[in-house]
Every structure is written in structure tokens, then in C-alpha cells.
Symmetry: C2
Subunit: 356 residues, 2 copies
Amino acid sequence: KKSCKITVLPGDGIGPEIMESAIEVLKAISKKYGINFEFHEALIGGAAIDATGDPLPEETLKLAKESDAVLLAAVGGEKWDNLPTDRRPEKGLLKIRKELDLFANLRPGKAYTALLDASPLKENLIKGVDLLVIRELTGGIYFGEPRGIEERNGEKVGYNTMIYYEHEIKRIAKLAFDIARNRRKKVTSVDKANVLEVSAVWREIVTEVHAEYQDVELEHMYVDNCAMQLVRRPKDFDVIVTGNLFGDILSDEAGALTGSLGMLPSASIGERYALYEPVHGSAPDIAGQGIANPIAMILSAAMMLEITCKLPEAARDIENAIDKVLEEGYRTGDIWAPGTKKVSTKEMTKAIIKYI
Amino acid sequence: KKSCKITVLPGDGIGPEIMESAIEVLKAISKKYGINFEFHEALIGGAAIDATGDPLPEETLKLAKESDAVLLAAVGGEKWDNLPTDRRPEKGLLKIRKELDLFANLRPGKAYTALLDASPLKENLIKGVDLLVIRELTGGIYFGEPRGIEERNGEKVGYNTMIYYEHEIKRIAKLAFDIARNRRKKVTSVDKANVLEVSAVWREIVTEVHAEYQDVELEHMYVDNCAMQLVRRPKDFDVIVTGNLFGDILSDEAGALTGSLGMLPSASIGERYALYEPVHGSAPDIAGQGIANPIAMILSAAMMLEITCKLPEAARDIENAIDKVLEEGYRTGDIWAPGTKKVSTKEMTKAIIKYI
Ligand SMILES: CC(C)[C@H](C(=O)O)[C@@H](O)C(=O)O
Ligand SMILES: CC(C)[C@H](C(=O)O)[C@@H](O)C(=O)O
């Protein structure tokens, strides 16, 4: 019997509620596909700060390194917003990405036919959108040195360094082309090479790597233009590959197009480890009410089944179940519209499991 | 008789065509309002590179410094795309902004009732949108040092520095609050303070400046969230103030929402000088055909009339003329739709002048 050891990090806010949903779904998958999941829960984010003072305790990291995959729900909340940058919940997230060398963040943006009304875009623009933002996750300005806050000539100054090394660009570019080969064979590399040296190097290396992928189309686009074209013609994108900061911005923008943040999963992968988490945050305003949308979390678990557990059928199974449930009109509050059935986190989860 | 000395920089691509339109309109304004314009043409961008090797010749800069305002059309084109970063047409643009100390870039994003169909957004979301992105223009990662491309441990590396000084943040924050006072009294300051030190300082200083503007509401927003909310609920924004790079991205995204790039003007202002230019680029693909949309350029001239020439009535006059012409169905190719009248650059210009 196949087995998969999973570190479970519920985190803050609605985290624990949606994690429970994902685990329920995985248990159903376990029965159907005869795969065995071992779940090990640990602390991260605000919950970890409250318990240990550290947003990513050593114990959590150790556990993660001994697992096949990490499932993370969400971190952060107002309660910890006034801590200095390096002791905030987000630091736990940044540190686990870095420590596990999760250099690539995959964020699919797909339009659900049942949810076209929820999209801010006109229907003809959003229908059929199926793109994937691949964001570099362990480099760029998020981790660049030097960085700091200091006084110069009697005034305050803050600075960060956006930096990319050849090997960092190479590996993410390769991944993007490899993934594009199994999709519509188009990669849009996004940078600001008309202004930034770091982008000029990015563009050069991506172009070099492309030489070995002549069956895939490569287009370069400036980040400002991409922010614009995503809104104007999202269907034209297949795979977008870009740096950490640009990817943060563009993947959220692309996500917004599809209508609900509560539907967007992500996978963060490296050579050895992988972490799966929804794109949305911890939504403290609705935490504890049992009304959060568990779908992004469940779809993140589906990405885990496909990428880490090598069970693409199980992933498709979950996706199809979600399609059906949406078609039947089940909606959590965030995606509810007149004429559909408003359900709780638990009801939504049950409905999905029914189809697995 | 009032007089205004203007440096005219047609630049590349469609630049000369749309500049001609703006000058025609200004001549009509001159007659009606008894103001005298002195136009002095000079070189910038690719045109300047071809003629002198320099994207911003000394002569152009000198002329600009002796003028009341600079009108710029557009720079750049494929022809110059393979030059190194510091000898490209864009460098002329960056240098003139820096040399004239144009620290604030104002980019209005307004929905035209006649063009709601052209917006990618659903009508209820876009109707009534009236926001202004105020982008810091002479600091941040665009100009930060150190920057460069070099070899480290045998591999290529590119890097840039995102840096903000207290005084840079202060002056742009003040401007944002001052402008918001004459609008809907709300400022959204955008940063990435949960990750970047430069943003932590940004947020701190903006909050400090806000103490003197308690009649204006201040909200802080992370850049990824802003990229998302612009698409979801653009009407909630009044004034957005942010750094150079974030402003580049967000102002283009906000611009895309309204439907046509060909309609978006901008003003770049400092203590002493001011430069007015459309947001769109030089569109080499349609250059020389007489079909470019001159409206963004004409609206940029209107911003000049209001801000530099202190003739707000003249600016309103132009805006109203454009509204009328759009209502009558005149459209250049970029905003044409079935049932409207497709016109050339010159025809559009004439139609606008008719109403002045
Ligand atoms: C919470 C924050 C540090 C994080 C990021 O910027 O990477 C988040 O926005 C994300 O995209 O996962
Ligand atoms: C052409 C380019 C250098 C410029 C910028 O990034 O500032 C442009 O995108 C703009 O926004 O005016």
C-alpha cells in the first residue's frame, strides 16, 4: 500500500477550519485509492508566535523535512501586525519556503463555468481562461541582501535588493518550459528589462534556456504591460514565469479575474520538498464561524496528490467533484449569488466528498 | 496677455501624429482664452538616438529647463530594443524625469460613460470609477544604487536597489493628501511592508504625514492585494499613492480597466517643472498611418492647462468636448465598436476642436 507522510500546518484565522475540510477529503481519497496518509500537525505563523515566540519553530521545520509534503492553510492576522518584520507570522511562511528550497510557486488561474457571474470581467473575456503563474519563490527582493532600515544624513532610509543569480533563473525557466510542454506550449516571461539590470539578466538567461525548448513559444513582456494585458485578454496567457515580487502581484491579479480568492490553490515546489497552500489569507474577520470556503485548500491538496503523491487521477477526481458541486449550486458565502444554495464549510466539504 | 512656453517632444512612432493633434487643440484654446503658447520642438528617445546618439541630448534638457512645461508624446520602438539599458530610448524618459526632479506622476483612471462597453469589466463595476494613481517617479528601484550586472562565483548576477529616503516619501505623501482634499478625501497607500524594509519606512512616514491631514482617510494596502482589489472593486479607490515600481504596475492595471490605453493622460510634476505625456507607448505598428487615438495626448495637454497654465476652465472645456465627441459616436480604431463611426487621428482632432 502506497503511503504519504504529510506535515499539516493549520496556522491562523480560518486556517484550522479549512484544513479540517482538506483532511476529510484526503481521507475519502485514501479509501478510494488505497493510499495511506500519515498526518502530523505542527505550528506556524501567529499560532506559533503565541505558543513559542517563533513564527516557524525548529520542530515544525524538522517535521516538514521528514515528510513527503507540507499542507499549509494560512497565516497572519491583525493581532500580530505590529510586530517588527522579522518576527511576524509571514516570516514563518518566508522561512519555510527558503529552508525547504521551494523555488517555484505554481498558481493556476482557471475560470469555472459555474462561476462566470462571479468574475469581475465580461463573460467573453473570462470564459475559457486557463493560465498558470510560475513565481520564483526563494530569491529576488524577498531575500536579497543588503536590506535594512537606517539613518543617513539625519533622515530615515529603507532599502532592499532585487537580485537574481543565473542558476536561480535557469531552474525556474526550465521548469516553466517543461510544464508548458504539457499545456498549450506558450511561456510568457515577465520582467522590467527596460529599466532594471536584474531583469536584463533574467531575460537573457530565460532566452538561453529556451534554446533547448524550441517546441515551446517564448514571449517576453514588461511587468506593467502584463498587469494590463491580464485584464484585457487573459485567455492569451498559458504559462507566465516571473520573479518573486512580480509573481506575487501578478498571480493575485490573475486570481482576482476568476472571481473568488476562495477557489485558488497553489503549490510551492523544490528539488526535494513541496508545500501546498491556498492563495488566500487567514481571513480573521470570518474565522471560527464555519463559513469559510474550503475549496482553495481542497484544491491545494489535489495539487499535492498530483505532484507529490503521483496520483493525478485522484486530483482529477477532486476537481470533478468540485465542478459538480458548483454546478448543483452549492456556494459558500464568498461566492454566493441569488439563486444558489448558501452552505457552510462543513456542508460544502460533505457535498464534495459525496462525489469522490 | 498670458503666455506659456512649451517644450514639444514628439518622440517616436505615433508620437509626431498625436503631438500635432494636441498642438491643434492648444491653438484653439489659445484663441478662445487669449493665452499665448510658444512651442519649441526638440528631440528625445529613438529619434534623438538616431540623430545624436543620445536619447536625451543636452539641448533638449536645456530647452526643457527654460520652459514652463514639457509636452511629450511617446518614445521607443523595436529598432532600439537591443541597445544596452543605458542607451535605450526609455533612458531619455527616465533621465528627463530625474533631471527636472519630476517626483510625482499623476495618472487619472476615469470611466467614460460612452465607453463602458470597451471596458473589460462588468458594467456595474466600472461605471463611475474615478481614481488617481500618484506614483513616486524619481526614486525607488528605478534609480537606486548599487545596481549592475556582474559575475560572482562564475555565474552571472543582476541586481538593483529599492530604496526610499524619508524626504522622498514625505513630499509625495503630502501631495497625495493635498490632492485628496479636493477629491473624495481618501488615500490608499500601497506597499509591501510585510516583507520589505523599504516599505516599512514608506508606511511609517506616510502615517506620520497623515497626522496633519486628519480630514482625509488613510488606508494602507499591500501591493498584491491592491492589484486584486483594483479588479474587484475599482470604485472604492480615490487617490492611490505608491512607489515608482508599484506605481508603474498599478497605474497600467488601473488604466486597462477603463477600456482604452489611448484615453489615458498623465502629468509628472516637481517643485519647478512639469511634463505631460500620455500613458500609452509609441505604437510603432500603427505609426504613420494617421489612425492613432490622439485623446490621451490631448488630455495630457489639458492637464497642463490646469496644472501649469492655471486654466482649469480650459481643461474642463477640452474634457467636455471629448465627452461630446464620444457621445456622438466618433471613435478611432482602438476604441471602435459596431454602431460607432470610425475616424482618423485628424478627424477626431477636428471633431474635438469643433466643440471648444
Ligand atoms: C504573506 C506574504 C508574505 C506572501 C508573499 O508575499 O509571498 C503572500 O502574499 C503570498 O503571496 O503568499
Ligand atoms: C518606458 C518605461 C521606462 C516607463 C516606466 O517604466 O516608467 C513607462 O512604462 C511609464 O510608465 O512611463
